[in-house]
Symmetry: D2
Subunit: 279 residues, 4 copies
């Protein structure tokens, strides 16, 4: 009686049956989904010109190759900090100019798509919008790479079908991102679904990215989940980093400080090599 069934309404173009070889997505000379593991890093929110510049320079000094940062922030409460909006996008663009790092940032509604696409190299669809179908169609009409996060209450199959929406609208540059699902366990923020990584690598040709920061919600445990994701076969990770996590305007408790991030980079490089890949 479950809602999932094998039928003509399934995903098609995102399937390995449709395309055997891995899709490799390129942006500013970075290839995502190939031999190299990709690390995207940055703050939860862009907070100021200085904050994002300082952090971008730090990120640039590591082997991380893409800068993340939120300008439009979906927040459960209307009274939380909702991001700097277009000002934040401009700060991200400036940080890119300075460092050459491509940027990834979230877009929350169809009418923001062209604005965000003007600034950002990769458009992120957040967990709460995985089944926001008008938004999926809107980003599907751009030619920007899309980072599609799994909904915290959505199945692997629904994630594939959400990607199918984007591809069906004309854009096959889609990365899928596992970022933790809702379960009964309360000691961690969400439960990172490590199973999703080999299952997705088997079912689809699209690159798979892991977000350990949101999944476990505690900076101390993020490196273990990052290593596990690479060991399980992920093509990259996206990690929250902040020069001073205790002062972050959002998600401070799950953001890595620079030193911890350097250790993480070192550790995942070894795991990457152990699985026949590189950083």
């Amino acid at each position: 009686m479950n809602s999932i069934s094998s039928s003509s309404l399934d995903y098609r173009r995102v399937s390995r049956h449709f395309q055997r070889e891995n899709t490799i997505i390129e942006t500013r000379g970075i290839a995502i989904g190939g031999h190299k593991i990709v690390v995207m890093a940055g703050p939860c929110s862009v907070e100021s010109f200085c904050q994002i510049n300082e952090l971008a320079l730090f990120i640039k000094s590591t082997k991380a190759c893409i800068l993340r940062g939120g300008a439009f922030k979906p927040r459960s409460s209307p009274y939380s900090f909702r991001g700097l909006g277009e000002e934040g996008l401009k700060m991200l663009a400036h940080a890119r100019e300075m460092t050459g790092l491509p940027i990834v940032t979230e877009v929350m509604s169809p009418d923001q798509v062209s604005l965000v696409a003007d600034y950002s190299d990769i458009l992120q669809i957040g967990t709460r919008n995985m089944q926001n179908f008008p938004l999926l169609c809107a980003v599907g009409r751009t030619q920007k790479p899309i980072l599609l996060k799994r909904g915290m209450g959505n199945t692997i199959k629904e994630l594939l079908m959400a990607a199918e929406y984007i591809v069906d609208a004309g854009n096959n540059q889609v990365m899928l991102c596992e970022r933790g699902i809702r379960t009964f366990e309360t000691m961690t923020r969400h439960t990172f679904d490590i199973n999703a990584i080999p299952v997705l690598k088997d079912l689809t040709h699209l690159p798979i990215i892991a977000d350990p920061s949101h999944a476990i919600g505690n900076a101390q445990y993020v490196p273990s989940i990052a290593r596990a994701a690479i060991a399980a076969g992920a093509d990259g990770i996206i990690v929250e980093v902040h020069m001073n996590p205790s002062l972050a305007l959002s998600d401070g408790e799950q953001s890595l400080a620079p030193e911890a991030f350097c250790i993480l980079m070192h550790d995942i490089e070894k795991i990457a090599h152990a699985t026949g890949r590189s950083l």
Copy 2:
């Protein structure tokens, strides 16, 4: 380490602490949240002029007082029937003219809000859009009553905070709808969270509506859940009804045929009386 905490970022204006008396929402002479239990009924999707008219006349012949029907349909697969769009809205409006029944239909994106508001008496935010914050803000800027469905992966607290977004944007005419959550149980489509009804009635002054059809996903079991919801204190139910469920373009297996709907209406009237209310 859970994301829920009592803080200044909580819901405020939807709280019983902010307003002790129940909010009563009125539309075309129907009061929602008062002494009378409200029944909203109709097909999952508007399929044709004849279909919706015939069904509206049938609904009108019962004590159900609001007509539901989908014109813009969020579907997990891009290859499923996605609704008739504005044509569907026109058919709903015609059915309203014929019967006098107010209508409720879903709106899926901010740029559809004014179109849907032109036709519909109540705007529905579907389960996949409960945390589509730009959409919540957009419907919050209308003065139409809103039926806000709980996300299938969202907590009771997040439902309250989503309502807070709408109220914060200027519209306090919000009904909350429990429609089942995702759990490990696979025999039913979702798990109807009956606990949510007394908890919400305690925490908020807003009317609470139950959707037994999507929660259990099987027409045979819908009446039991409808009775239970009324017994638990819900202010109304929204039920899928189809003149011929086996021919429905969507959700046929959970739609009630006319005869079964009449029995349900009879049964919930008795439950309503047993709880000191009426239909």
Copy 3:
């Protein structure tokens, strides 16, 4: 890839296909599963001779007809109160002599079965032991009625198969008890699976009992869930009651005080009548 499949390993004798008519279980003149709704009430734990006697006399003064109380208590922590053991059983037996109320109490291991069966009219298998198969076989070799609680992490199908173990061992006097499942919702202790009631009434001929106290974990909300369970078709409820909940050695926050229990009895009697049954 789910573990549930329709096969020769399914439940058989507990199925409606095997026996169409409802099983009615009798104990000391009380029929469970017939026209009358059965109410079992009492404290979480038997705490003292006085406590259980006073409560039994109170229960006797209402239309509740079975006395519940724990003597052997499964507790998550080894440092919690684990019950009075055989002394508690003797106190329950004395309370039965005084009031005529049959008693139901939990048995936790195969080697306790004969001891508990010497004192108790109904043997309860708790939520943590639903798949304790040696225990199911042991109670299946008695001729005492069994109250089998659903595991908080178990499916409806597994509940039916656990009952099949008992019936297969020779005892067909089994009641099934829905008591809430684990979900991501944290505002309530568990999520009462109201869907399970009509599904179980459809699939099996065994009586279905609801435990609203453990499901929601908050005395204030227990009556709503009790009413809902009866409205959905349950054959009875089991409720925690304490003369002074704030002093209870376990589960005080979900135990009803006498006055609240009287209101609940009054309210569910009206719901029972509305569904064509009586108390």
Copy 4:
């Protein structure tokens, strides 16, 4: 309102606050919880003298160092194969004599403990018995190492408190095993909770073992989860292996064939080295 709270009823002796250094458990010269990663492998069920001997010889030829195999099998259906019982234990003991591999097998009830302890080097408490407190106390009174599996519906904290029961009864030789939890995802048998590994390594000094086979339920995906578990910090894994999975009497679809197991051993050795450990 959740049941978990920090209180005097928490786990104590299993906590890192009680003992800072890792507990190392020894059995027949194998150290569990030390520098070396431990691999336990074998069939779901002992099926015959030949089957277990052939498999034991194969396991011995790899770097796996402990033989697993079920003699008493908890099965959801009473009509499934429930294991060979004491005959199975004798076969396991013979395989140990032949190969020198210590054995681990499940014990299901308190009255089986002394029998199983006579044959087995490590006593396994299965997922369905994690809160079978009389059984925990019974194995706590032996001096055999215990492999305690997390209940599929139980929290990390409850797992720690179940271990506390065993330690409190006198046996501090306890390994904790993450084997997947119940979630809404249906594409995999359970969801392996990778988060549990760093959280448990932080909170307790006990060794942590991962069971990828039961967690994901599909042999094809088992190696990815095994690698991930080691990368996240697990002290060992327990894996189902069968000379001919398609002929297995139970769990064939998740059992590795010999060749696949050899590849897995090779791959996890590289991951072990990458994390500074060895096999």
